[in-house]
Symmetry: C2
Subunit: 442 residues, 2 copies
Amino acid sequence: MTEKSTESKVEEAQTAALELAKYSNDERSRAIRSIADAIDARRDEIIAANATDVEEAERLLEAGEYSRALVDRLKLSPSKLESITDMVRSVAGQDDPLGKTQTARRLDDDLELYKQTVPIGVIGTIFESRPDALVQIAALALKSGNAVILKGGSEASESNRVLFEIIREATSEAPAGWAQLVEARADVDALLEMDDSIDLVMPRGSSAFVSYIQDNTSIPVLGHTEGVCHVYVDSEADLEMATEIAYDAKVQYPAVCNAVETLLVHEEVAEAFLPATIDRYAEAGVELRGDDASRTIVDIDAATEEDWATEYGDLILSITVVDSLEAALSHVNAYGSKHTESIVTEDSDRAATFMRSLDSASVFHNASTRFSDGYRFGLGAEVGISTGKIHARGPVGLEGLTTYQYYLEGDGQVVGTYAGADAKEFVHEDFDGSWTPGSRSR
Amino acid sequence: MTEKSTESKVEEAQTAALELAKYSNDERSRAIRSIADAIDARRDEIIAANATDVEEAERLLEAGEYSRALVDRLKLSPSKLESITDMVRSVAGQDDPLGKTQTARRLDDDLELYKQTVPIGVIGTIFESRPDALVQIAALALKSGNAVILKGGSEASESNRVLFEIIREATSEAPAGWAQLVEARADVDALLEMDDSIDLVMPRGSSAFVSYIQDNTSIPVLGHTEGVCHVYVDSEADLEMATEIAYDAKVQYPAVCNAVETLLVHEEVAEAFLPATIDRYAEAGVELRGDDASRTIVDIDAATEEDWATEYGDLILSITVVDSLEAALSHVNAYGSKHTESIVTEDSDRAATFMRSLDSASVFHNASTRFSDGYRFGLGAEVGISTGKIHARGPVGLEGLTTYQYYLEGDGQVVGTYAGADAKEFVHEDFDGSWTPGSRSR
């Protein structure tokens, strides 16, 4: 079999996308469940292919080219496969994101406008080494009726090939070509050029990688770059609560984008708050870096200008003491990445000022920044987190993989009737009611 | 006064945007009405400045560098100014697009998540010669709480300067710098580079111009490129209705993007439909170009391959006879621009197939493509029409100038409680209710 070109794969995906848009939720969900069943049935085959990838990765680890963390992420065990199939089945069981009537409006008698959710079309995804990412992305794309181009990391190529083949065979009732695997690095550049046929690009990986994608395509990009999140302990804070939130936001899982990187403390409570909090952090081995004002109170290293803008992704935290709520807001606006910020205060007016003054995707009051997550927000499976402001921001669920279409049902109306001197007036009256194409509401 | 740099103007706009986001609908609407009042009061000044632009344009018209149409678009009369202030006041009177609670969800006791509409931030706009565009864009931006960078055409520079100064002075209660005027062509390139500070670019102008912007920035672009719209007359069509719709869709206003460019006719009705329809078109002076099958029925010029993909924007129409609904769909998918398509048929199943098979922003049944418009759709003032599929598509109202923020109100919750072996379960229960930051719903 000769390998198809990236162009012909994307063309196949475009054709499949138009077909897939017509599939019912039952049909899409059944196909997704078939994927889970096939993964269960072919577990040994997957683990054997994965072993080849892991072996090569171990070799490169010894040669100093790979990290232990990368090798660990790559490895598939029977229990990991079970959690993958659980996830796939949970995607199948979610509410249908398609065909939701967002607006039903009577423009005039027998002239009805419907705004309804539809798939985006063809989604290009580029992701890191975890082979489970391929399965998750494919399930989310299928549930939302989108065709998908999958480009995984070369270190997982054997695993990805087997998983893709299983997905392809298991979804034989879905339109042929709805999922496509591309493998070469050069294919990424080809994909990024195809702004006529790919509707959205979703990169998963480091901030630098996502920025590279954004800078090299005119296709809209849904992804997240940095998470420089803040917790601000206000003068009116419940200090015990503040310590718990500050601790959880850093320590509970420091490697993720919604972990706090800078703690801001109002000067009126700094002396009461910092020593006990610093003790808690010390227990967890958090490395602390403070400004001058904080270092007059606690004995920690000095922070540099660079610290304020850094996403550590690790057990490191910078601390600054501010003389007002306004100073805290200025700091967050100057250094933040518009991801997630939290204020701890008992004063609802001050909370309101904080929440309305910040331009971040998620702004919290008396809660840990770590809640900023699709699962915790109740969005079901998470497509990703967006640090952009257009289309979808913050944690993104299946809804982020949809757009809408306007349908108009008439009985011969022409615009001429509604123009000129004797123009008929529009009614423009919204009404409740779902709708399927071809049928009138009444 | 020394002219500020484009960078410092955008920086001012960023600061203003954060302030403006906190303004109430009343405050924003009052500022918009002040713009209308100031335009009324300073009419002579505006017309004098405009006369300078028009004089220069007439000179360039004589030199063959400008078209008569451009000079006409440029000219401001007292009655044109009146329609401008009417439009501005109608924007002020629209429903507030901000602060709408899209989701209110209880994650757990005393842990409530709100998803609420907010402004996008800083919007860069680049528009053609009409000076009324500047006023309309400024009013829409202010109503939706966005700061705006205005770059008009050089041919309207005197008019734009006076109008901008009037807007600036009239909105002295809005945050200083919320609107910024940039004038030089080089400033556009500077704007397109500023993806850290400009959140959205809205170009208005030719398809080629919008494509140029898309290709030269990593800022998200909201605009429309081509409108190659179709009317398909099905075998089951009411042929009188079909003639009226086909006529209206081309003739009522041929220069706009929602006018039909290609008429598709099912072969079973072609002989009954085409001759009478062609006679109607002939009355209006429409130039017709057909494929071989249509030319065996009516005496019209031959269409070339290029015709099928052309947005004429004029009294020109291409015609093709197809042997099936599927052939019509293939043609639209191959040559259309995903703007607006209409089927004329009495068969609701065939209508449903047409509507569900096309990936266009607007798909109509028994109605003219010319209805694809923000005013007719009841969206109020139209920001523009989007041919993209991300964020907003089709006619875009004020809603297209908003995004959303997640607010979480807790009383000290940390993620650690909901993780690990003894993890507490989330409630994830949606409830009705609007909300303002800092207040609990109950």
